[in-house]
Each structure stands twice: as structure tokens, then as C-alpha cells.
């Protein structure tokens, strides 16, 4: 395991015993008087100068968050103040959220980072107060007159450092906003703070470098077109080894009916690649006329973890490419924040996509009316429709060696309302499915703890704390139902939950939904399947009990 996290036993002890509201201890000092301290495992590296330059972003320099001097621009306070004013002017949402909180405390114990750290500043209400206190000082009469008594404070370098720490201990998962009686969404504060910090050159490399890569090569890891193609082709070979079927994906092909875009993690990261193999098998199975783009080879959008402008810049490639290739509509793979952007931002930012057609499934004829304007369909919607219309030949027994639970990814469930489609698919492709406890799934789901661009090694302590509530719920079904597979429809989940499970719940593997679809698909001309897509042996199927499949 990473050197940036203590052993499981020690971390658990620390979660249970350190000054922690959950175990009944109250911190000695008020939060306004509690300084932050950077220690290994609780901060991410700052953006590298060449990365920042490549995006024409402010204040490129060599720096580290644990430096005493952050080499801020001389007028940084002015930049932040002006930035806050601009953002408030541009967003009623922020104004309402600034003014409306009554500090009722309903959100306090809803944050996974709070549950895994007990740190009071991880209560969503206090996370918001980190900014709200500045808002009061700069923009309200009470704050100006009464100062600290009104909960107001000056913007100082220490406050900026506190922002850096705690707005990178929020994954913009929006769980708190489900419970807030006014629907105040901490993700809005986090994106405001990150945008403000970015304007004075305070950001983290794990977000900025993928964003820069995505801009240049089309995907986060900076894979160039020829390598991207090779990587997919090697998956094609793996598929052939397991199934004996040769699938034939195409790249940048003009005139295809559908452009398929998925997070690049599915192309290169374990276990995302098995999900990719599932997509490829599915498309082959139904004879879909689709193409994959090397230019828009990233579904994810790390820009969305920094600023609206960068979100738009990276997202724009999807429509740009769809228009160039002349496809009818876009199909999107399994991803969390990618779908937050597609569902809630893409049309507003880069639409209207008049050059595309209203999405219709070429196999079933189903019109996806809910995607009429954005013209992009989620793969789970697409596959659920195929199964409902009986267009897939599935043998769920091929997943019998898996006892599955489903992790609702934050964005699909809390920003799209995607609850039933993945469950419907799961129940059709596997036989052993168990839900986690109800306060930890659906709209109350817990984040993996590493979302919003925090899945970097040097941040392992915080990540394992943030993922503790999710892991705890998985452990519950692992102990109770012997669950050995955690399935999720998010590329970040697939990477981060794997690490999380290895740390907290060994014995549970992680997969995407379409990996299980791929396992269950009975392909035309396939050889006898003895292994799943991971080349793990299948459980023997007793053919005499065979139902008609």
C-alpha cells in the first residue's frame, strides 16, 4: 500500500479515537481558531508550471502546498475578491446558497469525509462557512460592522490554505444537498472556491495535468492517436482469446451512425478495460454502426473540477467531433462526473446540437425522448432498452462466480436520477445480487472518497478516510452475503474503489456494469466460454438444468 496512509488498523483507530464528534469528543478550539497542518497523505501536489502554461492558466510556477510561501501574485486578495464578486453576479445559485443557510446541522454527519475523519471542517455547513465567512466580510453589512461576531473574517493566506485543504476534501458528491432543507449544494461552494484558487494559481497537478493532456491529445493520460488505437486493438485480441469472436471497432470513421465516447480509463486502466471489452462485445452482438474518436477520446472532464471555462473547453470536443464525423447522435459510456457534465452542463455550454438527430435506438426503434435536445444517451439507458426489448442473448449464469452489489455513483444518481437502469441490467446479467444498506445507496449513496480529481497516490490518507463509509457498507454485505464484486457505473469508481477495497475490504473486486454484460452475452460463433473477461475461470454450469436461453 501507499506510504501515504497508515495501516488499516491504525487508521481505524485514528478514526475512532482522534478528536471526533462521532465518538462524542468536542474540539477544544472554535473552528475559526483552529489552524490547518499539512502532513503526508493530506495534500496533493500543486500544478506543475509547464502544465499550467499549456492551458494559459494564471501564475505558473514551481511550488508545493507545504511551502511556507505560495508565491501568490502580489494582488491575490484583490483577484479573489473580484472573482467572488463576478461569480456572485453571475449566479443566483451562489447568492441564495450564501444567504439561506440557517446552520440547522442536518448536513453535519452526511459527508463521507466527516464520517471518515471526524474533522469538524468536513461538516458541509462548516465547509461552506469557510467561504461564507469571507462573503460576510466583503459583501454584507452585518459582516462589515460586526466582524467575527457576525461570523465574518478577513481573507488571508491562512484562509487560502484552509480553502486548499478543505475544498480538496470535498468530492462534489452532493450527498449533503439531498438532506439540506433548502437544497444548498456544497459542490457549488467547492467549485466556486476551486475556480477562485485557480485564478491565483492554486490548484493540484492531478487535476491540471489530465486536463492539459485531454486538451492536447484528447484524453487524460495523454495517449496519442496511434497508441489509443493500439490499446483498443489489444482489447480486441483479449476478447478473441476469451470468446473466439473478433469484434471490429472503427476509429474516426465518418458517416457512422453513432459516436461512442467513454472515459479513457476504460481503455487503459484495470478494471475499466473489462468494461470496455463489454461495450465492444455488446456493439458487435447487436451489429451497431458506431465509431470511436481518438480526438474526443475522453468522456471524463477534469476541467469540471477546476472552472466552468475549462469544463466547457474540454467538453466542446464532443459536439465538435460529432459534427465533423457526421454521426446522428452520441452514446456515452459509464462515468460519473462525465455524466454530470453531459446531463447538466453540455447543452447549456456547447449546445444546441442542431447538426445531430434525436437519438433513436437503431436496434429497437426506441426514441430516447429524455435526450431529445442534448442528443447523447447513457449506455445504461441504451442497454436496458435492448434487454427490455429482448434483443440480447444473455446467460446470467456466466456471472455465477460473482456475488454482486451495486455502488450508485454520486453523479448519475444525484444529478441525473439514474437509479433503476443499472439495477435492471444487473438483474438480467447476474444471478446473485444484493443491495447495500438503504442509507448508503440510491440518492443516499456514499462517494468512493476520491472523486473530483483526488485519486492520486500522495492523497491516500484522506482518500481512505473519505471512502470509509462506502467501504463500511460493502463490508456489511461482504460479511452477510459473501459479496465479492462491487459494480459501479463510473470510471473513477472503478479505479478508486479497487484501491479502497484492497485497503478496507480485501476479497471484494470492482467492476463496471458492462463487464458483467460482456460476460453474460452469448455471442454468435463464440467458442465455449470457460473464462470470464478477466480470464478468471467460470463456475461450472450444470447443463441438464438448462433453461431455454
Amino acid at each position: 500500500m501507499s506510504k501515504y496512509v497508515p495501516t488499516r488498523k491504525n487508521l481505524l483507530k485514528s478514526i475512532e479515537e482522534e478528536s471526533n464528534f462521532l465518538s462524542g469528543l468536542t474540539p477544544e478550539k472554535e473552528w475559526l481558531d483552529t489552524p490547518i497542518s499539512f502532513r503526508p497523505g493530506n495534500w496533493c501536489h500543486g500544478g506543475k508550471p509547464q502544465v499550467i502554461e499549456s492551458l494559459d492558466a494564471p501564475n505558473p510556477r514551481k511550488w508545493s502546498p507545504n511551502d511556507k510561501d505560495w508565491q501568490l501574485p502580489a494582488n491575490w486578495q484583490k483577484i479573489i475578491h473580484q472573482g467572488m464578486k463576478d461569480q456572485l453576479d453571475k449566479s443566483r445559485t451562489l447568492k441564495i446558497f450564501m444567504d439561506t443557510c440557517v446552520r440547522c446541522g442536518a448536513c453535519a454527519d452526511k459527508c463521507h469525509f466527516f464520517l471518515g475523519s471526524g474533522d469538524p471542517k468536513n461538516m458541509p455547513v462548516l465547509r461552506q462557512e469557510l467561504i461564507r465567512s469571507i462573503y460576510r466580510k466583503d459583501f454584507t453589512l452585518g459582516g462589515k460592522l460586526l466582524g467575527r461576531l457576525a461570523g465574518a473574517r478577513e481573507m488571508t493566506e491562512d484562509v487560502l490554505k484552509e480553502w486548499f485543504m478543505y475544498f480538496h476534501q470535498c468530492t462534489e458528491c452532493r450527498r449533503c444537498s439531498v438532506f439540506c432543507p433548502f437544497g444548498i449544494d456544497t459542490a457549488e461552494f467547492t467549485s466556486m472556491a476551486r475556480e477562485l484558487m485557480h485564478s491565483v494559481g492554486v490548484n493540484i497537478n492531478w487535476i491540471m495535468e489530465p486536463a492539459s493532456n485531454c486538451n492536447r491529445t484528447g484524453n487524460h493520460l495523454g495517449i496519442e492517436p496511434h497508441t489509443f488505437k493500439q490499446m483498443v486493438e489489444s482489447l480486441v485480441e483479449d476478447i478473441e482469446d476469451v470468446t473466439g469472436v473478433t469484434v471490429e471497432p472503427t476509429f474516426n470513421r465518418k458517416g457512422a451512425e453513432i459516436l461512442f465516447i467513454t472515459p479513457s480509463g476504460d481503455i487503459f486502466a484495470d478494471p475499466g478495460v473489462y468494461t470496455m471489452m463489454g461495450y465492444l462485445l455488446l456493439f458487435h452482438h447487436i451489429g451497431l454502426d458506431y465509431t470511436i474518436s481518438t480526438y474526443a477520446s475522453e468522456g471524463g472532464n477534469f476541467g469540471s473540477f477546476v472552472s466552468h471555462d475549462l469544463t466547457k473547453k474540454l467538453n466542446a470536443k464532443m459536439y465538435h467531433e460529432a459534427e465533423r464525423l457526421g454521426v446522428k447522435w452520441i452514446l456515452g459510456g459509464e462515468c460519473g462526473h462525465m455524466w454530470r457534465v453531459i446531463h447538466q452542463y453540455m447543452d447549456t455550454m456547447n449546445g444546441p446540437a442542431d447538426f445531430l438527430e434525436e437519438p433513436v435506438s437503431p436496434i429497437t426503434g426506441t426514441k430516447f425522448e429524455n435526450a431529445r435536445s442534448t442528443k447523447m444517451v447513457h449506455i445504461a439507458e441504451f442497454t436496458a432498452d435492448l434487454i427490455k426489448n429482448d434483443r440480447l442473448k444473455l446467460d446470467p449464469r456466466r456471472n455465477n462466480h460473482r456475488t454482486v452489489t451495486f455502488h450508485d455513483s454520486c453523479n448519475p444518481v444525484r444529478a441525473m436520477g439514474m437509479v433503476e437502469e443499472p439495477r435492471y441490467i444487473l438483474k438480467n446479467v447476474c444471478n446473485n445480487f444484493h443491495e447495500m444498506p438503504e442509507n448508503t445507496i440510491r440518492e443516499q449513496t456514499f462517494c468512493c472518497g476520491s472523486g473530483s480529481g483526488l485519486n492520486t497516490n500522495e492523497y491516500m490518507d484522506i482518500r481512505m478516510r473519505g471512502g470509509f463509509p462506502r467501504a463500511n457498507a460493502v463490508k456489511h454485505v461482504h460479511d452477510k452475503h459473501k459479496v465479492n464484486l462491487l459494480t459501479a457505473i463510473c470510471a473513477i469508481d472503478r479505479v478508486t474503489l479497487k484501491t479502497l477495497m484492497e485497503y478496507w475490504v480485501p476479497g471484494v473486486e470492482v467492476s463496471g456494469l458492462h463487464e458483467l454484460v460482456g460476460n453474460a452475452l452469448v455471442m454468435e460463433g463464440e467458442s465455449e466460454r470457460t473464462e470470464d473477461l478477466r480470464e478468471d475461470p467460470l463456475e461450472e454450469i450444470e447443463e441438464d438444468e438448462d433453461e431455454d436461453i
Binding site: 440557517v102 442536518a106 461538516m123 447543452d347 429524455n370 433503476e420 456489511h476
Partner: protein, 332 residues
């Protein structure tokens, strides 16, 4: 400090009225001028506050979906938790505003023996809901002091509220309820460590203020038996812009009135504006129909993107080698 200061300030306010009315005989100030000032500040303040909010657009449609959205026709949509049309949104908001739907979900997390558990925790919901509804009924009930003749509806509310005819004048259930609710809200702030830790002076002040208003009202009605006819004369005068203060209204009335006026003046500059904010929260008042209907952002910025031709010109040779189709097949 954050508890003591608000407490002391209420104390000072009450002393001010006592001295002003009892000693200095400033009935006109406390009976006429301050109520007008309060109403004006409240109205203008709220208009300005809402105007401040309304002057900015809602750039993105960001409903928090708490249930299945509208997708395929055979998948049952949760219309109140993930509304896709205006009537459904109104339904969601009605649940939120009238019944505090989100607060009803509240849980309490506990960590024991390395396990997290989430128990149901509806006390805040119950206390909060009872407090707000009680307050509304009490405010409506007060209209009998403003209207002559008193409308039937207000009589009806009064008679329901005074169902238990156990005192004279009739005891109102809401008087007891609001005392219990305010005490609950105050005690949880003082006693629950997490809540105490996040509370500001601005959280205690309105609670102390409302508590004092309730107590002064109860004292007036049940103990000091203030002359309602004279109060009606005073209020009638205020409403018809006849500036007369009837003699002999007890000081407790002026305490009550003054504290209400302070509340009115304080309101637009405080967290109490959540009364308006709850209607305008974009995570609740927007439909989850994002991919169906485009949301317009008036300041949608122009952003320079890395276009396909730029991309192709950088990777052209590699793409040719990998047999990836190009836009322009020149240089072949």
C-alpha cells in the same frame, strides 16, 4: 460570546422599552414611529434582498435528483423526487416548503465497533415543522387585531387553537407549542456538541428574540390581561394613519410590540431570509429535464477550444501510420 452577546442584547432591548415607555413616556415613539420604521425596513429590505438575488441569472440547471428521473417509458419515474415537468416541480416544492421533505430524511450517524450505522432522526424535522406551522397560525391569529369585523376564518382558527378551554381567556395550544418548539431549537443548539460548534451569534439572536416575544405575549394575555380593545384602537390608528396612542395600555404590550419590530428590522439582513430562499433554491425548483430541454445561460462564455484540425496537424504522421482516417487526404 456568541451566546452571551445575543442574550444580553435582548436584555438591553427589553430594558430600553421599559425605560422608554414607563419612565420617559415615549409612547408615541414605541407605539407609532418604531412600528412604521419596522414595517418599512422589513418591506424595503426584503424587496432589496430578493432583487439582489433576482439580479443574477441561474446559469445552470442543477436539480439534486433524489429518485429515478424520467427516462424510458417503462421505468417508473419518481415524480416528486426527480420532477421533469412544472407541475411535478411544484409538487416537489410544496412538499419541501409545507412539509420539510428533505429534513424528513434526516439520519444520525453512529460509529461503534468500527461500524457505521445510520439511525432515523426525525426530531429536528418534527421540531422545525411544528415551530414554523405554529408561528404561521399565531401570525394569522393576530389578524383579529387588524381587521374589524374579524373574518370567519380567523374565528375558526382561534376556536380550533383554543380547543382546550382551560383558562380564561381561552388557552391557545399554539402558545404552548411554540414555547416547546423554541426551547427545543435553542436547547439542541446549546447541548448538541456538533450544533453548538457550528452556531453563530446570528443563530442564537433570533431564537432569544422569538422566545422573548412569545413570553411577553403570553404574559400579556394570561397574566397581565392587557386591554385588547385599546390595542385594537392603536393598531386601527396605525392602519388608517391616525397617529393616536390610547392611554393605559400596559408596558408589556410595548415590550411585545418592540421586539416584534426588532424582528422585522433584523429579518432582511439575517439568515431569516431563508423564508424567501427556499422558494428560489435551484437544486429544488428546477426540473430534471436537462437533456430534453436546453437551459440557457445568458453569460455563456466564448472559450477557445483545441479544434480537430489543430489536433490532426500535430498527429498527422502518426495517424497515417496507424491507418486512422484523416480529414484531408493530402500528402499521400
Amino acid at each position: 460570546m456568541k451566546i452571551l452577546y445575543p442574550f444580553l442584547s435582548i436584555f438591553v432591548l427589553i430594558i430600553v422599552v421599559f425605560i422608554g415607555v414607563h419612565q420617559a413616556d415615549l409612547h408615541f415613539l414605541f407605539g407609532i414611529i418604531i412600528p412604521y420604521v419596522s414595517i418599512l425596513v422589513f418591506l424595503i429590505g426584503m424587496v432589496l434582498r430578493v432583487g439582489y438575488w433576482a439580479s443574477s441569472p441561474v446559469p445552470f440547471r442543477i436539480p439534486t435528483t433524489a429518485g429515478q428521473g424520467k427516462t424510458l417509458p417503462w421505468i417508473k419515474q419518481d415524480k416528486l423526487e426527480s420532477p421533469s415537468t412544472l407541475p411535478q416541480v411544484l409538487g416537489r416544492m410544496a412538499l419541501e416548503i409545507l412539509l420539510f421533505r428533505s429534513l424528513f430524511r434526516n439520519t444520525k450517524a453512529e460509529l461503534s465497533e468500527s461500524k457505521l450505522a445510520y439511525g432515523s432522526n426525525k426530531w429536528l424535522w418534527l421540531g422545525g415543522l411544528a415551530f414554523h406551522w405554529t408561528m404561521l397560525i399565531i401570525i394569522v391569529r393576530h389578524y383579529r387585531l387588524f381587521l374589524e369585523p374579524v373574518p370567519g376564518m380567523i374565528h375558526l382558527i382561534e376556536s380550533l387553537d383554543g380547543f382546550f378551554e382551560i383558562t380564561l381567556p381561552t388557552f391557545y395550544v399554539t402558545d404552548a407549542l411554540i414555547l416547546i418548539c423554541v426551547s427545543f431549537l435553542l436547547l439542541r443548539r446549546l447541548l448538541v456538541p456538533q450544533i453548538r460548534y457550528i452556531s453563530l451569534a446570528a443563530d442564537y439572536f433570533p431564537l432569544f428574540l422569538i422566545f422573548s416575544i412569545v413570553i411577553s405575549g403570553i404574559l400579556m394575555r394570561y397574566v397581565l390581561k392587557t386591554d385588547v380593545v385599546k390595542i385594537k384602537m392603536l393598531i386601527g390608528g396605525l392602519l388608517s394613519f391616525q397617529f393616536q396612542v390610547p392611554e393605559g395600555i400596559g408596558t408589556m404590550f410595548y415590550v411585545h410590540l418592540f421586539l416584534v419590530c426588532v424582528l422585522g428590522i433584523y429579518f432582511p439582513f439575517s439568515k431569516l431570509v431563508h423564508m424567501g430562499g427556499v422558494f428560489l433554491s435551484p437544486t429544488r425548483n428546477l426540473a430534471n429535464n436537462n437533456r430534453e430541454k436546453r437551459h440557457i445561460n445568458p453569460w455563456n462564455p466564448k472559450v477557445k477550444i483545441r479544434s480537430y484540425p489543430e489536433y490532426e496537424s500535430e498527429f498527422r504522421e502518426k495517424m497515417i501510420d496507424a491507418e486512422i482516417p484523416l480529414e484531408e487526404e493530402k500528402n499521400e
